[in-house]
Subunit: 257 residues, 4 copies
């Protein structure tokens, strides 16, 4: 790939990380904490992620390049997210993953706390896959701050994720992967909506998962490039604009404030 | 009916499909998925429905004409909703139905998942009728994507609906019919509010349906043309305008963005 | 009282009925249905209430005068609320009542459906009083539309209310009285918040009422003129203005659109 | 400290009390009732708090100085909050406390009513500490209005709080302390989010607290000056601005309307 194309891709990705982050705040998936990263297609040696900042204020100028060791590619002295090893270690282990979000949604926390298995209970919920692993930092590392800061903690989480798409983190939150930013945002939102539906169905007395065949077929449908996640991207972007927090259009790579 | 009147009706219907769709998004009945169709009064051979697009962005120019076989009346190459057979097959089976919505509301999903019967528990809830059938695609078609895409799937769903007004679709969503767009929007919103009230009453220990006589009398009241649904149409349209997503007034049949 | 003062009072009441109605919509107490009335101080022979319209669109010009028989004082041919006898019959029975709301809040419906007693569970909840009666229209009138339209139905409801402040109506909604419009709005909102807190405390395993002495003392505090309800009036009016649905300031007695 | 620096600090604190108050309204922690106070660093003999007013309308000009006896430092005849002894008595007992909020959040009320212990169930929830005491005014003072108005009531509450950070008040609300206004706002919001998560986890069948070691480590992380609470301050301030209720920028110490 030519350098010009690569720069264009990186610039588009910066804009899309900003949009994805603000959308997830607007949809209630992220609060003041959490972070999204993305790999530049064709550049397997690193990833893009924001410096540490409030996700409703993120702008393209906040996005930095990181190596797979989760060090900033250029030294800038910016304040960085403590948990960036989550991203680096998963990218190392999963060449197919192009985008990652770490978050603490109110919809998923009850499953992270109760350890009740999260299972796909409706069509769009199939995006979480047949199996959602549960990672208990305490088992391997004892009492910690619960932050995932050491490379070995990140590797342990990546091992727990394995070939799945969502990993719940005990009493902490979740980490979710995608084949693209639209795919990631789709999975993050519908993981939450599925959790809400499962909790409510449980309260009504019965919450059974889709059949394995349905999970496979409906899950493939959810992940098809240019399909569902393209429509949800448009939908959530418009909702974001209605909220007044859409990034400034005249400044696609700058700060929006 | 003269051609001019028919065109006026169709133009008004396009505008009202746009309003109804955006209202249902604003009221939490529709998310990025779901679609509303309507028949042109006096034209039993087809229906109007949007091309595939995000429902918060729908504009009158997105509304296409379909035959009862759910093919576009004019070849345009537009991307179409995969599940349009839901609409065509119900219109074939139910000459009284003038409008249909297919959606996946958070309020109804717990009933679609748990298979707990949805019953009318308060006055406006009577709009769902005495019986809400439950359709299980798995029983007849085995493992699928859960989308209703084949004509025989649409026909099976229409048979399950029968002469009722709401049909719940296992682990998928709901399809709801109306005698007009305001009637449809009324039923869709109050089906959800009834489900919420029923779930909450169940949590308090007791959720019993209205008596048959009450369902008949209150249901007729809900359906009276120019009555309840006329006031709710005004109410939800104003809420939509307050949200900032009301269609552009200066362009009643064009795109609103 | 001089005629001029009376007209000023009536004009202020019209403006305040508009504000109270739009506030209760904004606070989730009223949806497309429901109505607020108020008596003009010094004029025990009638009351003011809106013609039938969507409550988020109500303006001062919609407010009509009614006799205690719930007939419009002047013939205007306006469409009227079917349930206005609720207001007339309570005003006849309760000289102390200066304002009434009939509504169907999502917070109260689970209690109207389950018949679980609503009891005051926190300080501001004391506004509902020691006893919240439960009225079952079915017992006296058999199968109806559930609307309260006949004078005898209104009288039966007024009897059930007795000297209390809130009456729950089986599978229908609630009617709430106040010593003034601010007092009424306070009680309507906190009846709902109390219901939510009671439901949630029940889910945690225990929802016991305040002691009789606490209900008496805290209830008196809630009802003190110029006290709590004066602050909440300011608060909810500002929330209404933030929502964009505050009545037009330049047209205090006209239509706000 | 020089007088000029002290005045600058006090002026900044006034602005930050306004911001903190409006943020907590916007985040659903405060409704029409509740109040925030703060101590001026270096001035242990008093505190700053608003006169009695609706918290969504508070402006810097509403903030008065109080002595530790909770009397206004200058006589102004302003209407004052009845419960200001809560603040004075805690400041007397806890030299480390620099800011206090008294509030009645919907998230915490179910715990105040059911007396179910509130425990930290996820990382940010560790901010409430290992133990959240429960204060029952009835035990010591019998039937009251439930308001905390007498100095001895304030002292009793301060004793119940002890060296902890949050105290639940039976059938009333909560009082929460902080080492700074950002620290206070962080703890108030996450006490609520933790309560929601605990309630929901309980509904799923299991809500166990963090280990003691995790509470200590994660709690210290939450309280680190310039850390988490600095990011949340930015985040909630931006959310407040999006809501339209940010204080007027051109008038940092005046009224915002």
């Amino acid at each position: 790939m030519e350098l010009g194309s690569m720069q264009k891709l990186a610039s588009d990705l910066r804009r899309d990380i900003v949009l994805a982050t603000r959308m997830l705040v607007n949809e209630g998936v992220m609060d003041a904490f959490g972070h999204i990263s993305a790999r530049i297609p064709g550049d397997p040696g690193g990833y893009l992620m924001s410096r540490a900042c409030a996700p409703n204020l993120i702008a393209a100028g906040d996005i930095l390049e990181f190596t797979l060791a989760s060090d900033p590619a250029r030294h800038r002295g910016a304040q960085l997210f403590a948990e960036r090893v989550i991203h680096g270690e998963i990218y190392k282990a999963r060449p197919d993953v192009m985008a990652i979000v770490h978050c603490h949604p109110a919809s998923l926390l009850p499953f992270c706390i109760s350890a009740r298995p999260l299972v796909p209970v409706f069509l769009m919920g199939a995006t979480i896959g047949r199996h959602v692993p549960f990672w208990d930092q305490q088992e391997e590392f004892g009492d910690t701050t619960l932050l995932v800061v050491k490379p070995e903690e990140g590797r342990s989480l990546a091992r727990a994720l394995g070939q799945d798409s969502v990993v719940l983190m005990k009493r902490h939150g979740a980490t979710i992967i995608g084949a693209s930013l639209p795919d990631l945002v789709f999975r993050a939102v519908y993981a939450c909506r599925n959790a809400d539906a499962q909790s409510a169905a449980h309260a009504l007395g019965n919450a059974v998962a889709l059949s394995d065949g349905e999970i496979e077929r409906a899950g493939a449908l959810c992940s098809r490039a240019g399909g569902f996640s393209s429509r949800t991207w448009d939908f959530w972007q418009h909702q974001l604009e209605l909220s007044g927090n859409g990034p400034a259009r005249s400044d696609p790579v700058g700060r929006s404030r």
